[in-house]
Structure formats: C-alpha cells, structure tokens
C-alpha cells in the first residue's frame, strides 16, 4: 500500500529501467538459504543431523572420554545393566555399553546413508543429464534401463548380495544405491527436459558453446535445486532401508554395531531389558524424522517449482 506521507516526501524515482544498482546481488542460492534459515523446525532438524554426524565422526573421542569402553568390549560381570550409573544407557546381554554401540552404530548407519546418497546422485544425475539432453535413442536406451532397474525387486538383490558377500558399509551402500539411482535419473531427466527448452540454452549454443559446456555449466546448475531436495529427503529413507536390512540380518553383521542390528539382538530380551529396544529404536525414529523434516524444509526453500 502507498503511504501518502511518504509519497509526497520522496522525489520522483529514478527511471525504472535502471533498477537499483545498490541493492546487493541476490543469487538464487542466497535467497534459498535465507528462506531455509527462516524455517525454525527445519534448522533445528538440520542441526540435529549435523550434530549426529559430528558425534559419529568423533566416536573414538566419546568412547575414550565419556563411556571409557570399546563398542565390542565384553563385560560379562555387568550384563543387562539398566540405564544410569557407569553405563549411561545400560548394557546388553554381553555387557557391552549401549551408548558406545549407538555412537559407533551411527558411524555405520549415517556413513552408509551419506555414501548411498553420493553414489546414487552421481550416477542418477549423469544418466539423467545425458538422457534428457541428447534425447532420441540415447534417452530411450537409458530410460528403459532405468525402468528395468526400478522394476527389479530390490529385496531379492539385497538377499543375494548378503549371501554372496559379507556386507560391509561400502558394499551395502553400493547395493542400496544401485536401486536408488533410477529415481534420481528420472527426476533429473524430467528437469533437463524442461530446462533445455528455455531460450538461454539456445542462446548459449548460438555463441558457440560445446555440448559438454552446455551440460556441465548451464544445465547442471539449473537442476541442482531438485538434486539438493532429493538428497536431503533421501537420507531418512535410506536410514530406514539400512536399518531394516540390518534387522533382517542382510546388512551389517554383528559384532559390528549398527542401529538396525542392535534391534535384532535386543528383541529376545524385550520383556526384561526394554532399554535395549528403546534406545536404538528411538535413535532411528528421531534421526529419520529429523531427516524428513529437514528435507521438507529444504524443499520449501530450494524447489523452484514451489515458487
């Protein structure tokens, strides 16, 4: 609304087409970041994920100075200790410290999640960019392959891989990513199809840019927003998949701790040592919830289609 007092007091504005050169350059990234920062729930959840990741990275420090035990260190004199005292979150059937195992389990679980995201984004983005940009038979070939990948019953692949190899965090991430990249490829392809029809792509071609330059310098930055959103929303999903695989014994094998296989162990003792179920369960629940809420916040801030 126009404030009459102000309208009289100010001089005529400068010619409109000049714009205001003093206004700081607001990039898409700055604006998105501002929007994200304004979302309090998103920031709290994002910070929680970061804190969990830092704890996982610094796990040896915590065990050395806080819990004073190793994750696989047995203490058969102190089995099934309830939370409190020397063992803050209690011990399991072999006297291993629950907190220590949670911290080390976070290393595995979060590590697998981030590695999976990195792998599936890299592959999916590459395939999506090529299929979307070149179109025609390249598109047909690549996207039919994606259809095959997405039609493959993932659980059989997981079982097969668990039989053939002893799952390590790296192989587990590779296996989950090998079914996860298809969705990313579709997403990126769809975005490329719309972006490449915009005039600036034609304009860039008209100044003599090569395909590689068009794809990497001009298309990729324009699909980055959807990638960021896909990545953050994917973290929660992958943590759940990983936990489920561990729980079923198809993922990380004991004695290496992961949030999923801690649950497997504890189900036998649920009635007399409930904390063995509660702590890994709550950790998974809170982490996935935070990842999803943060993902939603990132989507609200970054997704150009929501504007």
């Amino acid at each position: 609304m126009i404030d009459p007092g102000q309208a009289i007091a100010t001089d005529l504005p400068a010619p409109a087409f000049e714009g205001d050169a003093r206004r700081p350059a607001q990039s898409y990234w700055n604006e998105s970041w501002e929007r994200l920062r304004a979302n309090r729930i998103g920031i709290v959840c994002g910070s929680l994920i970061v804190v969990l990741a830092l704890i996982a990275i610094a796990a040896p420090l915590f065990t050395q100075f806080l819990t004073h035990v190793e994750p696989s260190q047995l203490d058969l004199d102190n089995t099934f200790k309830p939370p409190g005292g020397a063992h803050l979150l209690g011990t399991d059937e072999l006297g291993r410290d629950t907190l220590t195992r949670l911290i080390y389990g976070g290393r595995v679980t979060l590590g697998v999640a981030f590695l999976t995201i990195a792998l599936s984004l890299t592959l999916g983005t590459g395939v999506g960019l090529l299929a979307g940009y070149y179109g025609r038979w390249i598109d047909d070939l690549l996207m039919r392959f994606v259809d095959v990948v997405l039609a493959f019953p993932a659980i059989f692949l997981f079982i097969l891989m668990a039989i053939l190899f002893r799952p390590t965090p790296i192989t587990l991430a590779a296996v989950i990513a090998s079914v996860g990249w298809g969705g990313v490829a579709r997403l990126v392809r769809g975005e490329v199809l719309s972006v490449k029809e915009r005039d600036f792509i034609l304009a860039t071609r008209s100044i003599g840019a090569r395909d590689v330059r068009l794809i990497v310098r001009h298309l990729l930055p324009n699909v980055l927003p959807v990638l960021i959103v896909a990545a953050t929303l994917g973290v929660g999903q992958i943590i759940l998949i990983e936990a489920a695989l561990d729980f079923l014994g198809l993922g990380i094998q004991p004695p290496t701790a992961s949030w999923g296989n801690m649950l497997t162990n504890s189900q036998s003792y649920f009635f007399h040592s409930t904390w063995l179920v509660y702590f890994p369960g709550i950790t998974i629940f809170v982490t996935v919830l935070a990842a999803n809420l943060f993902g939603n916040a990132v989507r609200d801030a970054f997704d150009p289609r929501l504007k």
């Binding site: 087409f17 050169a21 003093r22 915009r198 008209s206 100044i207 930055p221």
Partner: protein, 329 residues
C-alpha cells in the same frame, strides 16, 4: 558497391513430422552486405526464424535439405560442427525474442556476457568480466561494474535485452541476427532497443538481419526488406519502394491491415482474410492465392518465381509480373 558478407542461395529446411515433411524454409535466397540492415517480415510460422537458425546451423530438429549459406565465400551448410562453433558467437551473433528467458538464471549477468570471450578468445575470467563490463556500458547500462554482479532476474526486460546485445557484441561479430528483439518488450523500451541496434550498426559496422512481424520497425530500421510467406520469399527490395509500391498482394495486404490513426472512426480494420496455409500441404500454385484479392486463374495452377518487378523490387506474383498495379479499397 559494398561487399557481400552473407549469401543464402535456395535454402530449404524441412521438419519431419508424423504427418509429413514441413517445408519451413522453401527455397529462400537473399544476401546481406557489410554494414547494412536487412529486414525479414512475415506472419508467425512463415519461416523467418527457421531461416535465421539455418544460417548458423541451429535448425535442429529441422534438416537443411538443399541450398547454400555462403558466409564470406564459405558454405556453412557443409561446415563441420567444430567450424560452426567458431562461427557462432564469433562471426555471427544472434539475439532472441524473449529476453526474460535468454539469460541463465543461475549466473551473474557479467559472467554470461563475457562467456563468448572466454569461449572464443581464450581469455581468463577476470579479463572476460572486464570486457563484459565495458560492453554493458556501451549498450547503455548504467554503473555496469555493479550491474555485472547482478543476476538476470534483477534486470528489467529492456536491460536483459541490452545484456543479450552486449553478449552478442563482445567478440565484434560481422553479422548480428536479431530474431524479434523487441516483440516481448513494451513500446517505450522497444524504441530504446531499436535505437541501440541502429547505433551498434553504425559504430561497429555490424551487418544486421532484423526479423520481425512489425512493419513499423522495418520502416524505421532497414534499408532493404524481404517479405516471407509460407517458407518462401514473396517480395524483396529497398524498404521505401516496397512500402510505397508493394509488388506482391501479400505485402499489399499486410500494409493495408495496419490500423491507421487518421482513418475514419467507423472504418473497420482490414485484416487479411483466411489463415496461413498448412506447410505440409501447400495449395497448388501460389501459396497465397486462396487469400489473395487479385488472384487470376493462373495463380492456382502455376507457382510463381521471384522475378524483377519495377525498377528495384523482386516479387513472386503472376499478377504484378504481368504489369498490373495493386490498387483497391
């Protein structure tokens, strides 16, 4: 006699569709001399833009099926993709209709305006930016050093078109193809951009091809004009002659359809009746004959070719080639 920079001979570009081949450009010939401004006018879909795109080899998914595009003696239709990239943005620059979408939204304007310099002159980012800033200043953007840091969405439509022109000019090309450069802008900005194009033409000696459907723009800007209809050139000649004595009924109808301020209030506008023909299935004979008020029997039988009519003009019309004047209410 000025040297001929660009000579297009019998250019044919088709688009393959499910329903058949669309002959978007059907035997177009024209030439462009150094330093001149050539106007190409016609309705939407008559092949103006495809002609321009074919010149720089960006007609995809269309295919050039015939003719030659001679740029300083070299046939561009036979040039390799690598050679074409050297031509594009270095020798021949192009600016597009919609400045709102012609700049990449994720990069600072200065970075983009300097891109041809980095691509073709191999200069580093800092010097490309300096070149971009200098050129932004020349195209009339105030405080160019600050504006170069802005993103495209912070520019108005007119400023973006200025930026596009600056981007085209950084490498001082010999030919600038402006494809409807003012169509998306409002009238006051249109005048500024046209002024700028005229100034560019004078200062840099850049030969300009101005594609437009606005006859007023052509009258003010171009020495010569070429009128296209259904993928063919139907008339060409010096702008003043073509406008004063059109030798093709299509040009005549176009000129007559412009609303006039001095017309009587009750006088109805005079549109060209009918629709442009289907480019897959052109009418036999002259493509314009179903809409032509002057048509004679021969028009629906034989296709007219472009021939000299009058002292300075070329027209593809049986009626005027037979010496008949185009007159009527």
């Amino acid at each position: 006699m000025a040297t001929t920079l660009l000579e297009v001979q019998d250019l044919r570009t088709v688009f393959a569709t499910k329903n058949g081949n669309v002959k978007a450009v059907d035997g177009v010939s024209f030439h462009l001399d150094a330093g001149e401004t050539l106007g190409i006018v016609g309705e939407s879909g008559c092949g103006k833009s495809v002609t321009a795109m074919s010149v720089i080899g960006l007609q995809r998914p269309g295919r050039i099926v015939g003719g030659r595009v001679l740029f300083m003696g070299r046939d561009l239709t036979k040039a390799s993709e690598t050679e074409m990239r050297e031509i594009r943005g270095q020798e021949i620059a192009m600016i597009f209709q919609d400045p709102m979408t012609s700049l990449n939204p994720v990069f600072r304007t200065g970075w983009q305006v300097g891109e041809p310099l980095r691509l073709h002159r191999g200069v580093d980012g800092i010097r490309a930016l300096a070149g971009a800033v200098a050129m932004l200043g020349k195209v009339g953007i105030s405080s160019p050093a600050e504006r170069a840091k802005s993103y495209p969405h912070q520019f108005s439509g007119g400023m973006r078109q200025r930026a596009m022109i600056a981007m085209g000019l950084t490498t001082t090309p010999k030919v600038l193809i402006a494809d409807e450069p003012t169509t998306a802008l409002d009238v006051t900005i249109q005048a500024q951009i046209l002024d700028l194009l005229r100034q560019v033409n004078r200062e840099f000696g850049t030969a300009t091809i101005l594609i437009t459907h606005n006859l007023g723009v052509v009258a003010g800007m171009c020495e010569r004009v070429m009128v296209m209809y259904a993928g063919k050139v139907v008339e060409s000649g010096p702008t003043t002659d073509v406008f004063a004595h059109p030798k093709h009924p299509y040009t005549w109808s176009l000129l007559r359809s412009i609303p006039r301020l001095d017309a009587e209030r009750h006088e109805a506008l005079k549109p060209i009746e009918g629709l442009p023909p289907n480019l897959i299935d052109l009418p036999k004979g002259c493509a314009f004959h179903p809409r032509c008020p002057f048509k004679i029997e021969k028009c629906s039988r034989d296709t007219p070719v472009l021939n000299r009519v009058g002292a300075t003009q070329l027209a593809a019309c049986w009626v005027t080639q037979a010496g008949t004047e185009l007159k009527g209410a």
